[in-house]
C-alpha cells in the first residue's frame, strides 16, 4: 500500500494508459501496429499542443477558457485575409499578432484589473467569437484558397515518416519544457503559480509574468489552429462554441497538473494526452458509437480521479486556497 500510495497521479494515468493499451492489443486486432500508433498520436496531437498551452497557464495558477476561441478566430481571419488577396506570410503575421493581442488583454484584465482568470477568459472567448463572426468574416467555415496551399504542409507533410502534426506537438513540448526548466521567466512562472504573494516579496515581477503566460498560451493556440486548419484544409470556427476547451483542461488535469498551480510539467500533458488518444482510437476501431464513447471516456476519467483521491488524499497541507 505504501508503494502504491507514493504513486503520483501522472504515474497512475500512465499506468492506466498502458493497461488500456494491453487490453486493446489483446482484444482489438491491428491495434499495436506502427501505423495505428502513428494515427493514434496524430489524432490527439492538436489536443496535446493546446494541452501544453493550457498547462503553462495552469502551472501559473490561471486558466485560459478563451484558448480555443482565439485559435479558431485568429486562424480563420488569416485564411480570410489570404482569400482577399494578402500574401500568406503577412496574413499569418496578422493572425499571430491578433492572438497575442488577445493574450495581452486577457493578461491585463487578470493581472492589473484583478478579474479572476476563469471569468475574464470565459467572457473573452465569447467576445472574440462574436467579434470575429461579425467583423472579420461571414461564414462559419473558412476554406483554404490556393494561395494558402503552402501552409497545408503543417497538416499533411511528413518528416522521416512522422506526420507534421506530431512533429509540431513534439516541438512545442520540447520548447515548453526548456522554457519551464531552464529560463528565468519559466522559474518565475512556477513561483507565481505556487505562491504569488511570496513571489512578489522576493522580487518576481508577478503581473508582467501573468501577462506573459497568456501571451504564450495565445501564440501556441494560434500554432495549434494552423495545424488544425491545415489538416482539414479549412477552419471551422464553430469549434469555439464546442466543449473542446474542456477536453483540453481534462488532458491537463488528468495528467496531474493541479488546478491550484505551481505543480507539474510538460510530461504530465503528454501522459494525459496519450491516455485520451488510446481511448478514442481503440473505441473507434471497435466501432463503438460516438455517444457511447463519450460515456466510456467520462467513466474512465472519473475512475482515474477517484483512484488519485484515494491514494493521495487531500489534507490541510496539500490543499490550497483557490483549489477547484
Amino acid at each position: 500500500m505504501n508503494l502504491i500510495g507514493r504513486l503520483s497521479q501522472e504515474q497512475i494515468v500512465f499506468g492506466l494508459a498502458v493497461l488500456l493499451c494491453l487490453a486493446f492489443t489483446i482484444f482489438v486486432p491491428g491495434f499495436l501496429t506502427t501505423n495505428n500508433l502513428v494515427i493514434l498520436v496524430r489524432s490527439v496531437s492538436i489536443l496535446g499542443i493546446l494541452g501544453v498551452a493550457m498547462g503553462i497557464v495552469v502551472i501559473g495558477r490561471g486558466i485560459d477558457l478563451s484558448l480555443v476561441a482565439v485559435m479558431a478566430i485568429s486562424v480563420a481571419w488569416s485564411l480570410q485575409l489570404v482569400s482577399g488577396g494578402m500574401p500568406l506570410a503577412q496574413a499569418l503575421i496578422f493572425g499571430l499578432a491578433f492572438s497575442i493581442l488577445i493574450g495581452v488583454i486577457n493578461g491585463v484584465f487578470i493581472a492589473y484589473v484583478e478579474v479572476p482568470a476563469i471569468f475574464a477568459t470565459l467572457a473573452m472567448g465569447t467576445a472574440i467569437y462574436g467579434f470575429g463572426r461579425y467583423f472579420l468574416f461571414d461564414l462559419d467555415v473558412i476554406y483554404f484558397t490556393s494561395d494558402a496551399d503552402s501552409l497545408l504542409w503543417l497538416g499533411e507533410g511528413t518528416v522521416l515518416g512522422l506526420p507534421a502534426p506530431i512533429i509540431m506537438f513534439i516541438g512545442v513540448c520540447i520548447a515548453a519544457h526548456l522554457f519551464l526548466k531552464f529560463t528565468k521567466n519559466g522559474s518565475f512562472l512556477r513561483a507565481v503559480g505556487d505562491n504569488a504573494a511570496a513571489a512578489r516579496i522576493t522580487g518576481v515581477p508577478v503581473r508582467p509574468i501573468i501577462i506573459l503566460q497568456y501571451m504564450i498560451s495565445a501564440s501556441i493556440g494560434f500554432l495549434a489552429g494552423c495545424v488544425t486548419a491545415a489538416s482539414v484544409a479549412s477552419m471551422n470556427t464553430r469549434v469555439a462554441h464546442s466543449t473542446f476547451v474542456y477536453d483540453v483542461i481534462l488532458v491537463v488535469v488528468l495528467g496531474g497538473i493541479g488546478l491550484s498551480g505551481g505543480r507539474g510539467g510538460v510530461r504530465n500533458v503528454v501522459v494525459g494526452t496519450l491516455l485520451i488518444g488510446v481511448l478514442i482510437n481503440g473505441m473507434t476501431i471497435l466501432n463503438i458509437q460516438y455517444t457511447v464513447q463519450n460515456v466510456i471516456k467520462g467513466v474512465i476519467l472519473l475512475l482515474a480521479i477517484v483512484i488519485d483521491t484515494l491514494l493521495n488524499p487531500r489534507d490541510e497541507q496539500t490543499a490550497q486556497q483557490g483549489d477547484i
Partner: protein, 331 residues
C-alpha cells in the same frame, strides 16, 4: 332620335373599346395578388446562420418575398437547440404569418410547431423535418436518398463489380433527420446485399476534424476499404484529408446543397461524388409554398404537404458551369 342616340352610344363604346385594347387590359386578379402579401411577416429559424445551406435559403427567400412587401426576419440560434426553441416560443406570441423552421433533430421542436399552428401561424419546414408534420416540408426525401446512396455503394463496391465489399459511413448528428432517415434508407439496401460489409458506422457531429480522425482510423484498420459515404460535404473535407493522407484509393460519396465549394471539391478530387439537393431550388419552392398559403389562406395545419427536392448525383465528369451556385462575395 332614339336611333341616333343608340348609334352614338355604340360608336362611343366601340371607340372606348379600341382605346382599352390599345392600352392593354388590367389583370383583374393582379391587385388581390399583391394585397395578399402587404404587411405580411415571415420569420426564419435555421439551425444556425453562417453556412452555405442556411445562407442560401435566406438569400432566396429574401429575394422572392421582400419585393412583394413581405417582412423577412431571421432568428439565429447559432447551433443551440434551446436558443432555437426560445426563438420559436417568442415568435408564437409575436405571431408572424409564416414560420420557416430548419430542425436540428426530429424531436426538439415538434410540440412547439404544433403550438405555432394552433396559434394561427403557417409552419414551413426545410430540409430537416421534425417528427410532427406541418403545412409544408421542403427538402430531400432522406429515406429515398439513403436508398439511392446505398444502391450506388453496392454498385461501386460489390465484389461482383471488382470492389472489396467494405464500406464505412460517417453520419452527422445521430438524431438529425438527415442522419436518422437516411441511415434507414441505406440499411434497407444493405439488408438485401450481404456481400457488402459495413465496417464502420460513426457519427462525427457535422465536424470535419472528428470526421478526419474517424476516417484515418477506419482506413488504417481496413486498407482495402472501398468507399466512405459521408452525410455532409462541409464535414467530409476532413474525411477527404484522411483518405489523401492514407494514400489509399477510397471512393468518397458525400452530399450537400450544391454550393460552389462542392463543385470545386469535385474538380480538385476532394470528393469522388456529391449528391446535391439544390439550395436555390429549395428556396424557390419554399417561397412558392409561402405565396400560395398567403393567397389561399387555408386554416393553418389543415393541409399537410411535402415537396421532395430532386436529387442530382454529381461527379467530375458530369458537372457543368451552372451545376453549383455561390453566395455573394464567394470566390
Amino acid at each position: 332620335m332614339r336611333f341616333l342616340k343608340r348609334a352614338a352610344l355604340t360608336a362611343l363604346v366601340a371607340f372606348g373599346g379600341t382605346m382599352a385594347a390599345a392600352d392593354g387590359i388590367d389583370d383583374p386578379a393582379r391587385a388581390s395578388y399583391y394585397d395578399a402579401f402587404k404587411g405580411k411577416k415571415v420569420a426564419y429559424v435555421p439551425v444556425a446562420m453562417g453556412f452555405d445551406l442556411t445562407e442560401g435559403w435566406a438569400m432566396g427567400l429574401r429575394e422572392a418575398l421582400e419585393p412583394l412587401g413581405v417582412e423577412f426576419d431571421i432568428r439565429d440560434p447559432n447551433w443551440s437547440t434551446s436558443a432555437g426553441a426560445q426563438a420559436i416560443t417568442s415568435l408564437i406570441s409575436e405571431k408572424p404569418d409564416v414560420l420557416v423552421v430548419h430542425n436540428p433533430d426530429v424531436q426538439s421542436y415538434a410540440r412547439l410547431l404544433k403550438k405555432a399552428e394552433a396559434a394561427g401561424i403557417y409552419v414551413v419546414q426545410v430540409n430537416m423535418r421534425s417528427s410532427y408534420s406541418t403545412d409544408a416540408f421542403i427538402g430531400a426525401d432522406y429515406v429515398g436518398m439513403g436508398e439511392q446512396i446505398g444502391a450506388r455503394l453496392v454498385e461501386k463496391c460489390s465484389p461482383a463489380n471488382g470492389g472489396s465489399g467494405k464500406i464505412a459511413i460517417t453520419q452527422g448528428v445521430l438524431t438529425a433527420a438527415a442522419s436518422a432517415y437516411q441511415m434507414k434508407g441505406i440499411s434497407n439496401v444493405l439488408a438485401k446485399h450481404p456481400e457488402i460489409q459495413l465496417v464502420s458506422n460513426q457519427a462525427a457531429d457535422w465536424d470535419s476534424t472528428k470526421a478526419r480522425n474517424i476516417a484515418a482510423t477506419v482506413i488504417q484498420q481496413h486498407p482495402d476499404l472501398c468507399a466512405i459515404a459521408g452525410f455532409w460535404d462541409v464535414m467530409d473535407v476532413g474525411t477527404s484529408a484522411a483518405i489523401k493522407e492514407s494514400g489509399q484509393d477510397v471512393y468518397l460519396l458525400t452530399q450537400g446543397g450544391g454550393n460552389k465549394t462542392a463543385c470545386d471539391g469535385l474538380k480538385k478530387g476532394t470528393y469522388s461524388e456529391v449528391v446535391v439537393y439544390h439550395v436555390p431550388g429549395q428556396a424557390r419552392d419554399m417561397a412558392n409554398v409561402i405565396k400560395q398559403l398567403l393567397q389561399a389562406q387555408p386554416e393553418p395545419g389543415a393541409i399537410k404537404s411535402a415537396l421532395f427536392t430532386p436529387l442530382q448525383f454529381l461527379t467530375k465528369d458530369n458537372i457543368t458551369e451552372d451545376s453549383c451556385w455561390s453566395l455573394p462575395g464567394q470566390q
